[in-house]
Point group: D3
């Protein structure tokens, strides 16, 4: 029978590790809801891109990877900051799902306490396929584009994402 999975990330930016995770999930379930977390935040060093920009990146990357658009749904999920409300908040904003794919302790804890089935996802060379690493490289002008799908690198350049991040790094309001 058809099953739906949930995958939560911030995608700041979408990288090859995310892509591998989604490929992995689509071997286990028929459809995956990709929740773009912390959706309201942008223009900070931790969250440089808007949820809309992250939706575009993710869609471009999945298209480039040949994953058909009828296999997933991208849903921006604003943080609620009150952890006990987060599962109810997320489930009210997404189609229903049966399995949560995550290794992130808070996500795992909250979904388990709410009675959901949670499955780990293998990490794919986590030290380098990491958004933190990518943002660090963007700031220090090192190669980061090899860590993301080609279409994502092009999109980040088109919206001048690197410049935004570097400029913000001088901010005392971030």
């Amino acid at each position: 029978m058809a099953e739906t999975g949930l995958y939560v990330g911030r995608f700041q930016p979408f990288h090859l590790g995310h892509l591998e995770a989604i490929r992995h999930i689509l071997k286990k379930v028929d459809f995956v809801i990709i929740a773009i977390g912390s959706a309201q935040y942008s223009h900070t060093l931790e969250n440089p891109f808007t949820a809309g920009e992250r939706m575009t990146m993710s869609r471009l990357a999945l298209e480039e990877a040949g994953i058909p658009s009828n296999k997933y749904s991208l849903v921006p999920i604003p943080d609620v900051n009150i952890h006990r409300l987060w599962v109810a908040h997320l489930t009210s904003l997404t189609p229903s799902f049966q399995i949560v794919f995550s290794k992130e302790p808070l996500t795992v804890t909250l979904f388990r306490e709410a009675g959901f089935k949670v499955e780990p996802i293998p990490f794919f060379n986590r030290e380098i396929y990491s958004a933190t690493e990518i943002r660090k490289r963007m700031l220090s002008n090192e190669d980061w584009s090899s860590l993301v799908p080609r279409s994502v690198a092009l999109f980040v350049r088109r919206i001048k994402g690197e410049e935004r991040l570097r400029y913000l790094s001088g901010s005392d309001r971030t």
Copy 2:
């Protein structure tokens, strides 16, 4: 050149008028962002369904109508209740778009004042293809399923949507 349109609705529930509007928009643009407004609300007489349920309905209806999933993106948009922030809020949560399709005066006013191109959409027999009419019929046990795509009628039945609405109509907290 490829253009993206925006279409905003509450889809409480998704009906044949919405479907005609989307068909109309996809004749004018290549891709449409379908914003599911008032996303945080549910379980009231005005907003019986959650955003997640409305995403499911909309996807089912568009699939049934043969509109391919690479032509649209469904995005839940919570209300902010401060009208002057609404355009900035919505645009931060969606991929970028060039034309807003709307006949709703507040939506039109806010997007026009923000400098967007706004185009009207023809109404398709608005007196009956109306979510208000459908909810009224659900409450009074009249035929409503002829006003929505078949897959939507089945989905509403599966989640016991009519019962929820009728039961809530006795509430003094709605």
Copy 3:
């Protein structure tokens, strides 16, 4: 085995109908959590009293009725206005409970959809033992004190509750 019940009200003000409901519940369970809803609101015609004033009223009434303080817990619960979050919100603020006692459709719907056991409570002469009726009588200077426990009537007088309500009735900001 010991069971805990939940009883939700706004207690604007606490009246004899509430008292009968609590007596009824304490025949079924060993302990009752009395949730004071819409806790953040006060100084309106619908919600004249603060949550703190309502806690005091309720405690005085239960004391006067001889219900020992180790049989109940009074907990102010602010509204969240997003119905799908309400059960998670309430359960995070209260000790755990097994049965919800309510006849209010929204409360019943939300707790049932969340998988809770819900039991109706009989109404005790609801036409007159009603907070709406009491506030109406306060405004029109009719007898209302016969509808509330004696200690509640005294407390409302001590804090000049009637004057507050009457004065506010002239407000265009309520």
Copy 4:
């Protein structure tokens, strides 16, 4: 000794009644803080103008009336919707004051309960010098400009305030 007064209004729009009230207050105190309430709202039939537009209107009107700018301070105050927090909220956003000038019951109640000195202000022909009346006339295309200072009428025209209001009156989202 120098005393400061507080005057609270929504100024949707600023009219001749407001001007008379301010003139009256400046006979009693040396300086008046003019709080522009419901500051976050705009683009509705009740609150068509932004707080910024209302600051501009008020300043123009006071300038036209020859009231020097060192006699008053205009401060936008967003609503908090929780009445018991309103006095603390307002006083945190304004310079300190000694007397509240108001006839509005909720304002009077809240400031009195917080221990402030409250003085009534006479109404100046309230049936016609009323923002509700003015907005009604704007909608029905009757003369409204005689009810506001000349500079306010010009400003409303310059920002196309009438058109905004009329257009919004067709809205089902207001």
Copy 5:
């Protein structure tokens, strides 16, 4: 004449220092309102337990200590994060009180500026009777149960509090 005191804590978890403070306060006043602060937070390293869990712990501890339930009231108080609103917020949610017992500088400052009588409470071996110390020991698997009442230790074990904390310590979303 009967006086009521206020005691504010986060009780993450309730420990023997809290118990001594409450005993001390009940020598000075007839009744104490125990405000459970930061009520909305849980599932973080600083705030692992929900307000409801903390109410249960506190009640069990006071019962175990033989303090009768008619001597205190437990009230969850969500943070407002805007310090100038905090006193108004807290007083709207609690029965009235005459003395604030606190040594915490912000609490003392805010209540004093609002005109309340504030009395210090002696600390009871603060280096070890400290919730920070207890959470540290929970994480490092050292003895912590000697620092809390026996009933609290049992309750924390029953809800698997230690496991929750340890699991969350691996989280990058805390």
Copy 6:
């Protein structure tokens, strides 16, 4: 033609560097809107003063400097914490302006992305004319009053600002 500038600061407290910036701006434009940012915060080490206190300080300083009150408007602007909404939020609360004067990277980024003209302001001996430096000196009892206008020093003393800051520095809730 007359132009209006925007100048944003937190003014914790207002110092001589702020004064020089405003003098500089008033050589370029006819009128300056002085936005008092993070308006809701106070009683922390970073934000010791309320927005109202900061309005008073700023007005006193500008008066002392002989800058006439018809050249500027002081407007408290609460933070929204969602950066993409900040420009829309600020512009809804202020009269309209044409040029933003700022060197702060986040402010510059957000206004530029929104299409505003942004001009840098020279810093005036930023190492010492800095609110951070002043608060540090207040805490360590060093001379700070030479860094602020005389009227600001007197006002801070009158409201016992130094004591508040020092007392709060012992707080574990800041």
